[in-house]
């Protein structure tokens, strides 16, 4: 295997480069079956992180993996399963999307921020009476950080980078050397 190119922080100056019109609207807000997936990113002092960037990647409502281009110029009809959202001055991010389908469904989430030297991966599982097999392998105390909270319009998923209630971040085997 070749040596992996290391990551570096997204830095403070990505706002004019990575966000784009429609980045966080995988489906138009208010359209049929649209849900909101949102939350706040919080640092180790409990303060909101106003310069974080989140990406989600998710299956379609029928559980299938979406193989459709068009995320950067959304036509309003094509669901691509992928989106990007910046946090605002209160550390809040929000997506308009569809409910991910399939057994043990989750939003795959990537977190970037100034001050964060490499991206972090996590999962936002939909709440379910029977936790996904993966969740059973996570400390009961921390498991809740991987489960979104149901709301009338969708799901809330807060991310704590550090400290009390620190979100469980994932290693897919790529980060060990």
């Amino acid at each position: 295997m070749r040596r992996s190119t290391p990551g570096q922080t997204v830095g403070p100056f990505y706002h004019y480069a990575l966000p784009y019109p429609g980045d966080h609207t995988l489906v138009p807000p208010g359209s049929a079956n649209a849900i909101r997936f949102h939350g706040t990113v919080i640092d180790g002092a409990g303060d909101p992180v106003p310069d974080a960037l989140l990406e989600i990647w998710q299956p379609a409502p029928d559980g299938s993996v979406v193989r459709r281009a068009g995320s950067l110029h959304r036509d309003g009809f094509t669901f691509t399963g992928w989106g990007r959202a910046s946090t605002d001055t209160t550390g809040h991010f929000s997506f308009s999307t569809l409910r991910p389908g399939g057994p043990d469904a989750f939003f795959a989430v990537t977190v970037f921020a100034r001050g964060l030297l490499d991206r972090l991966f996590t999962r936002a599982y939909l709440p379910s009476p029977e936790p996904a097999p993966f969740l059973k392998g996570v400390d009961a105390e921390r498991r809740g950080t991987l489960i979104a909270v149901a709301e009338p319009q969708g799901f809330r998923f807060d991310i704590r980078l550090q400290g009390d209630g620190e979100t469980v971040f994932l290693n897919f085997g790529t980060d060990e050397r």
């Binding site: 570096q8 004019y16 068009g70 964060l116 999962r123």
Partner: protein, 258 residues
């Protein structure tokens, strides 16, 4: 844990350099392999409150994570790979070509994937509200580019060599010149945002973001090399920078980075 606030302009470069040398020494003496970059890297002050303190939890990728989002020609305009033609006039600075191949850990090309870049102008200034560096804005340079990799995983940008710029990590702190790269692989788990640097830059040794990759062999992977084959006569100098996005099935690497 230090309670020093983010962006504290307290330390001098000498103090930051001493902290970085101390971390290097610890890492070398224990011989313990660490993820690169190190997320908990106090010389980069903004990382202090923004790194996880718990170990990352191992996960086998589920089906959705074995795929990456799709991008296509409808996502990226043909001119977006040339950052020098986005305005009525020519930007100021040294025109350069930056090209390379994107591959996975097994050497397979990452084809048809989205590559995004952003950077400061020749004077070291970003077109960004938060950038208050008193260097000139170039009305003919935005500093944002996109392209799709080709069938062999190659990308190519025409741009202006960015300048170094000051920041507030410590007193007299300067970032080495760099181009930000955002990359997608063939798997969700290969997602990468990083920075490409230029060879021979004396600021690299002083920079806590670059030095947060504590293994010199790894951080040197972020330095492009000058390539006269990429240089175009009477037009632009050329740099080559190859990228490796490893997947979840990665095993210990071999020394085969030819």
């Amino acid at each position: 844990m230090s309670s020093q606030p983010s962006d504290a302009a307290a330390g001098t470069q000498a103090e930051i350099s001493a902290e970085m040398a101390e971390i290097d020494k610890t890492h070398t003496s224990t011989g313990h392999a660490r993820p690169q970059p190190v997320l908990n890297y106090p010389p980069y002050r903004s990382s202090i409150l923004r790194h996880p303190t718990k170990d990352l939890h191992h996960a086998d990728p589920e089906e959705i994570e074995r795929w990456a989002p799709c991008f296509g020609p409808q996502d990226v305009g043909a001119l977006e790979a040339d950052l020098t033609v986005q305005h009525p006039g020519e930007p100021i600075g040294e025109r350069i070509e930056v090209t390379g191949r994107i591959r996975d850990g097994a050497g397979r090309p990452v084809a048809g994937q989205l590559v995004e870049i952003w950077q400061a102008n020749a004077a070291g200034r970003y077109i960004h509200q938060r950038d208050q560096h008193p260097a000139p804005i170039d009305p003919n340079f935005t500093g944002v580019g996109r392209c799709l990799s080709d069938a062999e995983g190659r990308y190519r940008f025409t741009t202006i060599r960015p300048g170094p710029y000051p920041w507030k990590n410590h007193r007299n702190a300067w970032r080495p010149a760099h181009i930000h790269f955002s990359l997608f692989g063939t798997d969700f788990t290969q997602r990468l945002i990083t920075q490409m640097y230029f060879p021979g830059d004396p600021l690299l040794a002083l920079d806590p973001i670059y030095r947060s990759i504590t293994d010199a062999r790894d951080r040197e992977l972020l330095v492009a090399r000058y390539d006269h084959e990429v240089t175009r006569p009477q037009w632009s100098t050329g740099y080559r920078w190859d990228i490796v996005l490893t997947g979840p099935h990665r095993t210990r690497f071999e020394e085969d980075d030819a």
